[in-house]
């Protein structure tokens, strides 16, 4: 266990934890976009920055990655911190002018859009938090979507920006997307995502459509469980 100070409060935490986890445990609100408990943090959005004093050195760090250490002093709302968060929000609002999530967040943080930034029209609501990519690769194991390009041309999508060939239609990306950029359209028997339409599997017992057939095949291939066993929904199992 290490003890340190956060916003003037003395706190204790497990060594190896990061500042964000500890702050949240103690009820301190730090905004984030690219952080999710099911995937490893990447430090991409920079909203969670805090000021850390360690020894004589004070610097701005991302709390989602910064490991807690004995004796550090963390401030989560200094002017420098708020300046970074304001810039990040204004930049993202200019990138994704249609995102209601961002607008609501900004409102809560008391941040107005920067009128000098000409709003983009080609990025949709994607903030490039890369949660979807990580979920697809690390959690699902499908690696159907990935990053491409770099800088302002960085994108998320299937290779060659074509309809995904290896997508299994599980929808993990859509569930984890913080800004509702990834669109998944579902009817009872069909699901549309990443340019593909997936046939849904009806439950052998109750008849409810519960998962894409491709997803069940993927699980069957991976785990060796026969398809017949997988064709039963969670509630009927």
């Amino acid at each position: 266990m290490v003890s340190f100070i956060i916003d003037g409060k003395k706190v204790e935490a497990e060594a190896g934890a990061n500042v964000l986890q500890v702050a949240r445990k103690y009820g301190i609100v730090i905004p984030t976009l690219c952080c999710h408990e099911s995937v490893a943090p990447s430090g991409a959005c920079r909203l969670c920055v805090v000021e850390v004093k360690k020894g004589k050195r004070t610097r701005i760090v991302t709390s989602c990655l910064y490991p807690v250490d004995e004796g550090i002093v963390v401030e989560t709302k200094t002017d420098r911190v708020l300046n970074v968060r304001r810039l990040v929000m204004q930049l993202l609002m200019a990138r994704c002018p249609e995102s209601e999530v961002l607008k609501d967040m900004a409102k809560e943080m008391g941040i107005e859009p920067q009128p000098a930034f000409h709003p983009d029209t080609d990025k949709g609501k994607c903030v490039l938090c890369r949660l979807c990519v990580k979920a697809c690769e690390d959690v699902v194991g499908a690696s159907a979507i990935g990053l491409s390009g770099r800088g302002k041309n960085k994108k998320v999508g299937a290779p060659f920006m074509e309809d995904s060939k290896t997508c299994i239609g599980c929808g993990a990306c859509a569930y984890i997307c913080p800004t509702e950029h990834i669109i998944m359209e579902s009817t009872d028997s069909k699901r549309k995502i990443w340019g593909r339409t997936f046939k849904m599997q009806p439950c052998d017992k109750c008849g409810r459509y519960f998962a894409p057939v491709d997803q069940l095949k993927f699980i069957s291939d991976k785990t060796g469980t026969p398809m017949t066993e997988l064709a039963v929904c969670m509630s009927c199992k």
Partner: protein, 637 residues
């Protein structure tokens, strides 16, 4: 070739090498680094080979790297027994027969050498070997000694000690210069901690830009937990306007390799990597050859110098990404992935390549190590200035007379680099600024011309040492355009991982483009300033957190130029197309008609011998008229 196991073996190789450095017959050397080849050295080399064959002469034809004075290349050095070494500048294939004539006749006439060398410095051995016994022949006395040439006078070559002196294809010549004797000393007479102490005592700071104490870094890596450790050489010299690392990798690859083997032994590493830019094919080829030679001699691989120490090196080629010069991105790239940086809250000396302790230094840093081990920390730290020991290699380019690579003791006044070594600004133009540190650095204006060139002084002035680019700018350089240039560069090179860099630099570029296009608005400059702070604090890696430097430093020293662009819609330097107009001076135009012929849009008209006129509606401001006018009659305002 048999393996080198003992001091005797090494001495034998050195003897062979010395015989080819100062042979008993005539030797002709052509400067064949990239800069030389680009200016035509290959044609010169071929012409020499042909002429020697045609005349059936017993002359050794050899290749060497870059001496540094790129503006006088192609360079051909002639070394005849018991004579000074003569350097012929700007040699073309046409001039080759005459040079051969001079060699055969033993007399210099007509095409005079640019300078002569009477002796050769062997830095690592701490001695000078004369090329000749007795006095310099009378007819050669008039040729200036290299030490009297203003470009070389204030220079001191440590890291580039062998560049342009030895044949980069010969390991024996490298050994003759004292090469691999430091390795033998380190492996047989020094404990790893002693080596680290020596490097710490030398005060060697990382030449890649950060200026961190190399020895301390080695020590941290040595102490880090883990059985497998890596040493890495950063040869991803991405700063535009800098090529000193390329020159060392091309001209003296063994110095880097030897430095790395010593470092690996000190740190406790058995595998190393040299990461080289994709744009440097010759550096890759020369390094690869050198690695093969070292392996053949038993200087790499298992049981090096029969000491039981194992170490090997691999080359990793970049694929064109500036961000890969950042240590974590470089390591990600070496792992075979897209080179995105990661947060460095846990240092790479503890968790680096494949999550193992990794010690990364740049080319120039590694190249200094053998010299430090052979001559000692005390000697090294006596060079340079306080807290900045040794030398630094710079590439002096841009609006300067003597363009080239220079190595100077730290702490030299900037003025001496610009006006003595560099020979001042061409065309009688006024010096405006020098840009150091590449895209992450800043500009130093005329008022700082006396500044001491060292890590700390440059940092205090709002710029940085960086890897060593020095781009000189004169009154015709627009500082807003320069800021835009760097921001545009960084926008293109941003990896796109974090928001402040990806989106922030992109927005700064938008604003700067507006300013240069005459669409700047009141408040733009202030917005750039406030964004800069947010980017400095918020970006993930060093590329991002220094991205605003070009804007901050030009704003600091050249705010008036920004004001002229935004408020007056004028570009005082006459660069920004939207804000300038071309016209013909009534006074200077002779009506020669050259511009009229060259203009791609046919917007210039006028009778012979009468002042010409530019049709402003058709002018695309390409500037070809100004470039081609011999009478300086084109006015840009």
């Amino acid at each position: 070739m048999s393996k080198i196991n003992t001091l005797e073996d090494l001495n034998k190789a050195a003897k062979r090498g010395l015989e080819s450095i100062i042979p008993s017959k005539t030797k002709v050397m052509v400067g064949m680094a990239t800069s030389g080849i680009a200016s035509g050295a290959q044609e010169v080399y071929n012409a020499l080979a042909e002429e020697i064959k045609k005349r059936k002469l017993d002359i050794i034809l050899s290749k060497t790297g870059a001496m540094g004075m790129d503006c006088i290349e192609p360079l051909v050095d002639v070394l005849q027994p018991n004579k000074p070494r003569l350097a012929y500048s700007k040699v073309t294939a046409k001039k080759v027969p005459e040079i051969i004539d001079q060699i055969v006749k033993g007399a210099v006439n007509g095409n005079k050498p640019a300078y002569r060398m009477d002796e050769e410095e062997f830095i690592c051995l701490n001695e000078n070997k004369p090329y000749l016994k007795g006095p310099v022949p009378k007819d050669l006395e008039g040729i200036p000694k290299i030490g009297d040439v203003s470009f070389y006078k204030k220079q001191m070559k440590l890291a580039t000690r062998n560049c342009g002196m030895i044949n980069y294809e010969s390991i024996d010549e490298y050994i003759a210069k004292g090469g691999y004797f430091s390795l033998l000393k380190a492996l047989t007479k020094m404990q790893p901690d002693e080596i680290i102490d020596e490097v710490i005592a030398s005060g060697l700071r990382g030449r890649g830009g950060g200026g961190f104490q190399a020895g301390i870094k080695w020590q941290t890596c040595r102490r880090a937990h883990g059985d497998i450790k890596y040493v890495i050489c950063n040869g991803d010299e991405g700063d535009p306007g800098a090529y000193m690392d390329r020159s060392v990798m091309e001209g003296d690859p063994h110095s880097v390799i030897e430095g790395m083997i010593i470092g690996a032994y000190a740190i406790g590493s058995s595998q190393g990597f040299i990461y080289v830019r994709n744009e440097y094919p010759l550096a890759v080829a020369n390094l690869q050859r050198a690695l093969d030679q070292a392996r053949e001699y038993g200087l790499l691989g298992k049981n090096i110098l029969n000491t039981g120490f194992d170490f090997d090196l691999k080359i990793g080629k970049g694929a064109g990404a500036f961000v890969c010069g950042e240590s974590t991105a470089l390591m990600t790239s070496l792992e075979g992935k897209a080179g995105e940086p990661r947060a460095k809250y846990i240092h790479t000396v503890e968790h680096g390549l494949w999550d193992r302790p990794s010690n990364l230094n740049n080319v120039e840093t590694w190249a200094n190590v053998p010299a430090i081990i052979s001559r000692g920390a005390k000697w090294f730290s006596s060079i340079g200035c306080k807290n900045n020991s040794g030398t630094k290699v710079f590439c002096l380019v841009g609006k300067i007379n003597n363009i080239g690579m220079v190595e100077v003791p730290m702490g030299i006044p900037l003025k001496e680099i610009i006006y003595e070594i560099g020979g001042g600004i061409p065309g009688g133009k006024k010096y405006k600024a020098v840009q150091t540190g590449g895209p992450s650095g800043g500009c130093l204006p005329d008022s700082l011309i006396d500044i001491s060139v060292d890590f700390d002084s440059l940092w205090d002035a709002g710029s940085m040492m960086g890897s060593g680019g020095m781009i000189v700018m004169d009154e015709t350089t627009c500082m807003v355009d320069i800021a835009r240039y760097f921001i545009d560069f960084l926008e293109f090179e941003s990896c796109g991982k974090c928001v402040p860099c990806r989106e922030g630099v992109y927005r700064m570029n938008e604003i700067l483009n507006d300013i240069c296009d005459g669409k700047g608005k009141a408040g733009d400059v202030e917005l750039l300033e406030s964004m800069s702070q947010g980017i400095v604090d918020g970006a993930l890696c060093a590329l991002g957190s220094t991205a605003a430097n070009p804007v901050l430093s030009t704003l600091k020293y050249f705010r008036d130029e920004y004001v002229a662009h935004v408020r007056d819609k004028k570009c005082p330097a006459g660069v920004c197309k939207a804000l300038i107009r071309f016209s013909v001076s009534d006074e200077k135009c002779t009506g020669c008609g050259v511009c009229l012929k060259k203009c791609p849009t046919e917007c210039i008209s006028g009778e012979k011998k009468k002042t010409h006129v530019i049709d402003q509606t058709k002018c695309i401001k390409c500037g070809v008229c100004k470039e081609s006018c011999k009478f300086d009659a084109i006015i840009v305002e």
